[in-house]
Structures are given as C-alpha cells and as structure tokens.
C-alpha cells in the first residue's frame, strides 16, 4: 500500500548515476564485508540511503560537517577497512585539504564518491553545480580520478574502485542518465573505452557528456564524417597509450565534459597530446564561468554542452587538421 501523501525524493525514479551507485553498494555488501559508508546528511541525494537502509551497521551519519568527515574517513581506513565517503561534489572541494593530507598523503584506502557534478545538477543553481572538482582532485598526488558514463558503468566502477587499494575520487550524477552500455560491458580502472570506431576525428568524453558525444557522432556520420568515440572514465591515471593511438589514427580531437574547460578532461587530453602526439584539439565544456538555475537540458544549450556543440567543434578541428596538412 502506498501513501499518496508520502514525500517523493526528486530524481529517485530516474536512472541516475547516484541511484546506480547506492544500489551497487548494497549489492556489493555481502561479497565485500569490510567496507563502510560515510555520509553528511544527504544520503537521499547521494544514493547512499539504499545502503543505510540495507546495512545500517555499516553506515555512519556524520552530520553537516564535511571536513571532519573526510579526515575521519582517513582515520577509519587506517584501522584496516575500505571507506566510502559521499557528499556533493562542491562539498568535496570544501574538504579538499582533508582529502589531500589525511587521505592522499597518508595513502588511505578511501573512495570519495561525489554526486551533483556540473551543470546537470540543474535548478539548485551555481552554488551546487560543481565545475572544478576534476581539476582540483586531479592535482592531488596519488589520487585516482574517475567519472563513469552511465548507470551500468557506475555500478561496475564502484566495484572496481573498491577492489583497488588506494585513494579515489569518483563522480556520480544527479539527473537521469541515458543508458549507453548493456550487461556485456566491462570496466577496467585506468583504461579508455572505445565506443565507436572512426578515423576522421576522436571525440573524448566522460560522465554525462559521453551520451551527447555519441549523438554527435551519429550526426557527423550522416554528413560522411566517421568519428571515433572514446569514454575516458578514468581521468587519472590516464590511458596515454590509447590517446596516442587515437592521435596517430585520427589526427585531431574534441573533448567534452560537464566541467570548466580549465583543468578537467580537456586538459588531461591536451597534456597527453602536447607531450606525446601533438595534433589539433577543440574543447567542449563550461568556458570559465559559473552556471545558474534551470533544467539540465536548458543549461546544456545555454552553456554549450550539447551534441550540436560537439559537432561544431568536430567540424572546426577537422578543418584545422586539413589546413595543417595542406
């Protein structure tokens, strides 16, 4: 019997990455009996409410105190167990220094899983739309940085980071996400995944932008351009070999991310290309500005995170490649 007046959690009905994460924790609990989960009063927002309900003895509520929670996670892990620490991506920025000293420098087995990344947060506005987390966490020595593309990959990545012994920062996502992978997909930490073959241009994306880049590739194909699509879910350590191979075989790149263009996925790819396989690159991302309230799709249009923006960038970068060759 359902209570018509019961409050409905926003976004819970959808197929979001945060939901996939929370459910994955529950399904992993028996096989991995040691890990615990910490949350800072937003279990309903991070998806960990599923785990709280299923495993209350392994769930610790830390209150609205992210700095203490982050450093505490390092202390808990020091007693010999993996610790998932979960909050919104912006609050991971607040506790960045705790993650740096008490988790990364101390080399603790802590998995920081951040929901609400980027403009896909939507109506909550700029204060909650974190556009800086990938850049900040990528700069911390020893920190592995992951941003899965769809709910299935999120579940696989949750197990993969749990099996890896060391500090990890991983994005989930707030809004319903498009399904990209079927059950046959496997996830390997540190490996790029080629979703579509093509030799005219490489489109690299992470997180919610992977599905948009796939849509862009379909549009490009209609005009005779064969785009290779790469899901770079692990931003650090980066799969350099895969990117260099793509550079040799396609000769130009577009990156797409729900993040500031400074320091995130575009910068990861640019660093690899500049050092190992120089070729033209265009970046799709938020252009060094804050967001605002609005639905995720409206925001993507206004801030240029659409398949159309990727198509335009692809045409531009292919023209640059041809110009350089002529």
């Amino acid at each position: 019997m359902t209570d018509a007046n019961a409050p409905q959690l926003i976004g819970m009905a959808g197929d979001s990455l945060r939901e996939a994460f929370g459910k994955a924790l529950v399904s992993l609990a028996d096989q991995y009996p040691d890990f615990v989960v910490l949350d800072a009063d937003i279990a309903g927002g991070t998806g960990t409410h599923h785990f709280r309900k299923a495993r209350p003895d392994r769930f610790y509520q830390c209150g609205i105190a992210e700095q203490n929670m982050m450093a505490m996670a390092g202390g808990m892990a020091s007693t010999g167990m993996p610790v998932f620490v979960t909050t919104f991506a912006v609050f991971c920025l607040r506790a960045l220094e705790q993650a740096r000293l008490s988790i990364a420098y101390a080399d603790r087995n802590v998995k920081i899983v951040a929901s609400h990344p980027g403009l896909e947060v939507g109506p909550d506005g700029a204060s909650a739309q974190c556009l800086e987390d990938l850049a900040a966490y990528r700069a911390v020595p020893g920190m592995t940085v992951v941003s899965p593309a769809d709910p299935h990959e999120m579940a696989l990545a949750t197990e993969a980071v749990l099996r890896y012994n060391g500090p990890v920062y991983m994005r989930s996502g707030r809004s319903p996400a498009e399904r990209i992978y079927d059950a046959s997909h496997t996830f390997e930490l540190g490996k790029a995944h080629i979703l579509r073959s093509g030799n005219d241009v490489t489109l690299v994306a992470c997180g919610s932008m992977v599905s948009r880049v796939l849509a862009a590739a379909r549009t490009l194909a209609a005009s005779g351009i064969q785009a290779r699509v790469v899901n770079l879910a692990t931003l650090k350590p980066v799969d350099r070999e895969a990117l260099v191979t793509c550079a040799r075989e396609t000769g130009c790149f577009v990156t797409a991310e729900d993040h500031n263009i400074h320091g995130g996925l575009g910068s990861v790819v640019a660093e690899v290309l500049a050092q190992h396989a120089p070729c033209p690159l265009e970046m799709v991302g938020v252009r060094d500005t804050f967001g605002e309230s609005g639905e995720p799709d409206e925001l993507r249009v206004k801030y240029g995170l659409t398949p159309e923006a990727v198509v335009a960038a692809a045409n531009k970068v292919i023209a640059r490649k041809r110009e350089a060759a002529s």
């Binding site: 450093a71 505490m72 202390g75 007693t79 000293l101 101390a106």
Partner: protein
C-alpha cells in the same frame, strides 16, 4: 616513578632542541610544552610494541599539533620506536623525520599531520574504526590551543560525543600561546573546559608538567564509559629553557643559534659540548647520560 619520567623528559628536551638546532628550523616552544605529557603517554599510558608498530590492537597516538613533532620524535626514540641515528636527519632531504609527521616516512607515526584540526578528526575516525572492528584499543591525540580556533575541531568534537567514543582521549597542550601572540590577543579560546563539557565531553583539567596529575587525568579517562575525554593540560610554552618560556617567537619563526643551544643545554643540566655529538645531517653518535 616520577623521577624516572622527569629524567626521560629532560633527555627528550635535549634531543628535540639539538635536532631543531641542527635542522636550522623547527618548532621548539610547543615541543617543550608537550614533552611531559608525551613522556607519560609513551612510557606509562599506551600499550604498544616498538618492535611491531603495525600491531592491529595497539593504542594509537596522533600528534594533531604536528609542528611539535621534534618532541614526538625525541620521545619515540627514547621509547625504542626510532633509532637514535635518525634524529640527526630531522628535516633533511631523503631522511625519515619530516618537518611535520608523515605516516609514509616514519613507522610509529599514525597519520600525516601539520594542517591543524585534521589529526583530531583522524583520531575520531580511528576511534570509530576500532570500535566498528571491535578492536579493544584506545586512541589518543594531542591538539594545541590555537588549533581549537579551527572549526573542524568542533565538528569532530560533536561527532565524538554523539557517537559516545569513550575510548578516545584528546590532550590539549594549553600553553596559551600560538604562532604570532597570546591566544587572547589573536582570538580568545576561553572557556575551553566548559566548551568541551557543553559538547558532551568529560574534561580533566590539570597542570601538564606534574606527572602525578597527568597520571590521575589518564586514570579518569580509562574509567570513563560513555563520553570522549579531553585532558586540558595547562603548560608553559618553551618549558625548561628560561629564555624560551612564554615567548611567542620561539613557536617556530626564530632560528636557534649555537649560543641559544648552549644556553638551553645548560638550563637542562647538560654539558653544552654535547652539541658536537649530532653531526649535521648524519647521525647522533651516542645516547646522553
């Protein structure tokens, strides 16, 4: 008993000051104020095995006021956790004893500190983790008085009381001075005892240089069954060296000269020629008498 600890604390002060002198930098004031408390912890209070620093059921100690680590290294050395030969490498390239404690470099250090407030939270998390894993070990931390200006301390204090972490004991080295000036001139911290009581902590207020009082305070902690304990230890910054006592600039911004060290060693009833026994960047050749 007390006499033995006094002797160890004297040696530890000599070691720490000599290390800081040879390093060319460091934080003598807070190391000296904490030294008697550190000696009690390592020689009377904690259950640990210097030969097996990773023993899962060991008691943990976290120096949250990490800048005072010359004190922890000196006491740890006397307790057998660290070879004497390492002390000369304090703050030197490629050596173990980092300028602030680092778990990756020094075996008996439990976590990396040096950013105030974090060691306190790590201690809270360690106490929670031990309880979660049903390991009957205690967790100790030492914080500074200026450190409680960090908001993170109060986040952790609220958490520890809410979760009734009674196996957690935090020692506050209350020397009344911080980096630039007296606490009361920077940002007043009083009433410290009542603040922690209001947060749900057991508070033991003592003279942090009286070994009998220190022992009594830890006894109170060990009998506690419901609340975390704060030992509010009134201390003197620079304790034992007359020209350092209660002087803010000996927190860490002044370089010790050879004359400074000779004077300090004289205050500690030690032959000033002892400084020759620590050769720069190499080893400390022999124990002090």
């Amino acid at each position: 008993m007390t006499k033995e600890l006094e002797g160890l604390a004297r040696k530890a002060r000599i070691y720490a000051l000599t290390m800081i002198y040879h390093a060319g930098s460091g934080h003598p004031g807070g190391a000296l104020s904490a030294m008697d408390l550190l000696c009690h912890l390592y020689f009377r209070e904690m259950d640990y095995d210097p030969a097996d620093p990773g023993r899962p059921d060991r008691d943990r100690f976290i120096l949250s006021k990490g800048h005072a680590c010359a004190g922890q290294y000196a006491v740890g050395c006397l307790a057998g956790c660290l070879p004497l030969a390492e002390l000369g490498g304090f703050r030197k390239l490629g050596r173990k004893l980092q300028g602030h404690p680092h778990v990756g470099a020094t075996p008996f250090v439990e976590t990396s500190t040096g950013s105030l407030g974090q060691g306190f939270s790590v201690a809270v998390g360690t106490a929670l983790g031990l309880r979660h894993r049903k390991i009957e070990a205690r967790t100790y931390a030492m914080i500074g008085d200026g450190e409680i200006q960090e908001g993170e301390i109060w986040e952790g204090a609220m958490f520890a009381a809410h979760h009734r972490l009674h196996r957690l004991c935090v020692v506050l080295d209350y020397n009344k001075l911080q980096s630039d000036d007296l606490n009361r001139n920077i940002m007043g911290v009083e009433p410290v005892a009542n603040k922690f009581r209001a947060f749900g902590w057991r508070v033991e207020e003592i003279d942090g240089h009286q070994f009998d009082a220190i022992e009594g305070a830890f006894g109170g902690f060990n009998r506690e069954t419901g609340r975390p304990t704060l030992i509010l230890a009134h201390t003197t910054k620079g304790k034992g060296v007359h020209y350092m006592e209660d002087r803010p600039h000996w927190h860490g911004s002044v370089k010790m000269t050879e004359d400074n060290l000779r004077q300090a060693l004289t205050d500690l009833n030690c032959n000033p020629e002892t400084i020759g026994k620590c050769r720069d960047g190499t080893i400390w050749e022999e124990s002090l008498d």
